[in-house]
Amino acid sequence: MKKPLILIVEDDAWLAEQQARVLRQAGYETSFAPHAIAAIEAVDDVHPDVIMLDVLLTGSTAFALLNELQSYGDTGVIPIVLCTNLAADIKLDDVRPYGVKRILDKATMAPDDVVAAVRSVL
């Protein structure tokens, strides 16, 4: 059975490495994109089942990426988990129309929370 693939969009390579490690231990496959442009290419290449998305990215913000994803029928349905230092400032209801299902606060989350978040949206 094919393992679900999680695309981690995160400009901090070391944090992405931690998230990937935890997700792989939980039985998921992972792919990594350091910025929005790479993320769009990765979405086309690997067809992720979930996108774990940081908000403050190099170049464009996550919202530019979310808009791009929503422009297409196939990418608009990919569940998004925002993982951000700005969690306190973002309301889930405001970003739900962009496909965001969960918001994780980088400052308070436990490493396993990424697994719980991914399970809850799959």
Binding site: A13, L15, T58, S60, A107, P111
Partner: protein, 246 residues
Amino acid sequence: MSAKREAHEQLGGGLLEGNIPSLVAAAHELKSPLALMRQLSLMLEAGDLSVMESQRMLRQISLTSERALRLTSDLTRSARLDDAMFNLEPINPQQLCEDIVHELTPLFNAYGRDVRLLPRRHPLLLVANRDLLRRIIMNFSDNALHYANSNAAIEIQIKALNDGQTIRLGVRDYGPALSSDMWRTLQGKLTSAPQSVHARPQSSGLGLYISSQFADAMHGKIGITRHRDGATFYVDLSASHQLSLL
């Protein structure tokens, strides 16, 4: 009062006198390394890691804390620029940049990257404060480490401009081309006080603003050159004429 001066008041005074946007910018810049160190610590605490993985994480914590400490040190230095007397002296930029490369190499290597100084045939001397100039180049290099492509080295360059009257120290990164919007935003960040992350979501621009202040204190200026495959952040300073006396 000049715009730069006003901006300086906002940051320098702000940190001491309760300027909220500056404090928010500083807090935001420090939140990322703190959050990373917390995640790494929690992973270590949970155990179930190989010795090699544990060692790698401990190294990452140590290097991340050093980066965060550099920022706090720059902030306090920046807030006290008016109070301090800065000695401007003739400095060999080649030697200074070699020291910086030596200091940054462990951090870059830990990210699987390389930082190098492009060699110069003829020696140059500039007038600067060694500590402030070092902080500017470290800031630019940190910025490049964060934004450049993972497979390309960061290059520190030293050039003479204006018939040798000006010395330019630049940090060249190879990464995604800056969009026109991003370019305009960055130009603004060179001289504007950092703003709330709500106003400028991608970055507070704090590091650039601090570098701008340090350059100002040495009668220099910082700038950005946009390339199709990245950017060069530079500081221009006056050349020292002592070399011509030798």
